[in-house]
């Protein structure tokens, strides 16, 4: 059997497949369908310090091979999470990563400070790239300075590794990714959703109450791959790739392009067993190609002209 394990340096994973934030609930929703311990890890839904109501509906609009969402980070807040959910996740032999949100830099630190006092968390993923909270999709991940400031504060506060989640809605991903690296981020994950909208021709109204939303799913995979490749080529810290991964082959594309691990998002909504199937398909591929260690294919993209 091929060895799928991955060492991110700060975190060892059974395999490179993590469930992406916001598409996997708090993890437990999937227990009726899959063995959560077979996953590399679980990134839970973004958490603010307090519970958050989220945006008015409609919050979802489908587009060809894609999904536009404007959930607005509805969630139960860190306290309820720590009391009601975490004890049930902490017993699992899989990495639990908390997606950390904040309206201000201080709130990010507050969330981390609170969670630092809880057990059973492997790392934090700083969500500085959600397009659904501020007007016009603004978020800290659009600016290298804002990114640097939040990551530095988070790193100073946290006793745990910090992964910075980046936005695709930027002109120069390398510049932002480097800002995160320089501020001490242990890894970066990309991409969050692509700022998008949809129009109902009959009513001439936006199909999302929030007007704008974030596009995910197969439609964004080529964009995600390009950004992951750019970032991975220029960073020293590990890159976690995501965006439109539906199959084992999709995940392999990201690894070959330089990602050390991947996250599976929208695919979980379509098929609650998707993450496990993706792991299985990668394993099958390794067997077929007689690859003993999956990690050997990371960053092996051959760009030399034939």
């Amino acid at each position: 059997m091929a060895d799928l394990s991955i060492d991110l340096g700060f975190l060892k994973l059974r395999n490179p497949v993590l469930a992406a934030s916001g598409t996997f609930g708090y993890g437990l929703e999937f227990a009726p369908f899959i063995d959560l311990e077979r996953l590399g890890g679980i990134v839970v839904k973004g958490l603010y310090f307090y519970a958050r109501p989220g945006n008015p509906p409609p919050r979802l609009a489908e587009s060809p091979s894609g999904l536009i969402n404007s959930i607005g980070l509805q969630g139960i807040g860190v306290k309820a999470f720590s009391q009601e959910i975490l004890p049930r996740l902490a017993g699992l032999r899989t990495a639990v990563i908390v997606n950390v949100c904040g309206s201000t830099n201080e709130e990010y630190a507050q969330v981390i400070d609170y969670l630092d006092r809880q057990e059973g968390i492997a790392a934090y993923e700083l969500n500085i790239s959600c397009p659904n909270v501020e007007q016009d999709g603004l978020c800290p991940a659009l600016s290298p300075e804002a990114t640097h400031a939040i990551v530095r504060l988070a790193k100073r506060t946290s006793r745990r590794p910090v992964i910075t989640k980046l936005s695709p809605n930027v002109t120069d991903i390398v510049c932002i990714a480097k800002a995160a690296e320089e501020a001490g981020s242990d890894a970066v994950s990309l991409i969050n959703t692509v700022l998008a909208m949809a129009v109902d021709v009959e009513t001439r109204r936006p199909r999302l109450a929030n007007v704008f939303g974030g596009l995910s799913g197969p439609a964004i995979k080529p964009i995600a791959l390009r950004l992951v490749y750019q970032a991975a080529s220029r960073l020293k810290i590990p890159v976690i790739g995501l965006g439109g991964i539906m199959s084992g082959r999709d995940a392999l594309e990201f690894l070959i392009a330089g990602a050390m691990a991947v996250e599976v998002g929208t695919a979980n909504l379509v098929d609650p067993e998707a993450s496990i199937r993706i792991i299985q398909e990668m394993e099958d591929w390794c067997e077929e190609k007689k690859i003993k260690k999956l990690k050997d294919i990371i960053g092996t993209l051959n760009v030399a002209s034939p």
Binding site: F24, P57, E62, S65, I71
Partner: protein, 320 residues
């Protein structure tokens, strides 16, 4: 809750824009309660990407049925499926209607100031109001209520006669049935909610706000089976409704006026159906606060007192 990746289509019926599929899925059938739904994958291609939610229309020991109208890409693809093909389904999902059987979790909760939901409906009259495709969950509910000894009266409304494809099936099962059409082509001329209002006013002995039910003019086929309903004079013990938002809102107002406990099966665009994405939120009142709750987990059936109805939208009336 089960995922059945290959439920075979045993039977298919088509009436114009409406379609019924009977699927073999013993595990899902065994657990299904009226008002619960399934998430159906209509294609293994990435477009359409998401599963589509459908109420469980009927079940036997081994099968579940869905009844749907063609409104877009997914339902059109689904309507093309043939007997023998298989579908990938997840279910049963959500919380269903409160029946007297005590089967659902919710049956044990008390509703302040209303009829106790756990109370038996045995021998009681209940109204089931379905608009267009909203009839889907009410057939299963009606059969279940009959088993418990209740006397369901089904109000079935549509834009025109061809929007009432299940009328014959309902009659064949000896349901007391009253139909309405917006254009008067069958039964009561007007909205389903107006038909319910007329009926409640009649029971209350009030002057009619709408023309009285005059079934003599209706074509013979659509005449209501009145025997059962009128044997039990008085108000229904409960109203269950599913249909266009505007219809349900009016039914809620009527139920409120007469102090009748009511439950509604709401719709929302769903990403997952299993509580993972927060995509299906509706404003729901619990206690003294209203918040966005997940329709797929907390619903799709909600009590009248819980639903915060959306603003009137002029073009939504009878869009199904």
């Amino acid at each position: 809750m089960h995922k059945d990746p290959g439920a075979p289509i045993l039977r298919k019926e088509r009436w114009g824009d409406y379609c019924l599929l009977c699927l073999k899925s013993p595990a899902i059938a065994r657990e299904a309660r009226p008002g619960q739904f399934m998430m159906v994958r209509v294609s293994d291609q990435p477009y359409p990407l998401l599963r589509r939610p459908f109420s469980i229309h009927a079940r036997t020991r081994e099968t579940v049925e869905i009844f749907f109208s063609r409104v877009g890409l997914g339902t059109n693809i689904l309507a093309q499926k043939k007997t023998g093909e298989t579908l990938d389904i997840i279910g049963p999902l959500g919380k269903g209607f409160t029946t007297g059987g005590g089967g659902s979790k919710r049956a044990k909760e008390q509703e302040p100031g209303r009829l106790a939901p756990a109370e038996s409906l045995n021998g009681k009259k209940v109204f089931l109001v379905g608009g267009g495709r909203g009839i889907a969950p009410l057939y299963f509910l009606g059969l279940e209520l009959k088993k418990q000894g209740a006397v369901p009266i089904i109000f079935y409304g549509g834009k025109t006669k061809s929007d009432l494809p299940l009328a014959d099936r309902l009659k064949a099962h000896k349901f007391a049935l009253l139909v309405s059409t917006d254009d008067g082509s069958s039964g009561f001329h007007g909205f389903a909610s107006a038909m319910v209002e007329a009926e409640l006013n009649r029971v209350a002995g009030l002057p009619m706000a709408f023309p009285p039910l005059d079934w003599a003019d209706a074509p013979r086929k659509s005449r209501p089976v009145r025997a059962a309903s009128y044997a039990l004079a008085g108000f229904p013990a409960r109203v269950f409704a599913c249909g266009p938002e505007a219809m349900m809102r009016k039914i809620a107002a009527l139920a409120d006026r007469y102090g009748i406990a009511a439950e509604f099966s709401l719709e929302a665009i769903m990403g997952c159906g299993i509580g993972a994405c927060w995509g299906c939120a509706r404003k729901i009142r619990r206690g003294d606060k209203a918040e966005w709750l997940k329709v797929c987990q907390e619903g799709p059936v909600f009590k009248s007192s819980e639903v915060v109805w959306e603003e009137d939208k002029t073009n939504e009336v009878s869009d199904r």
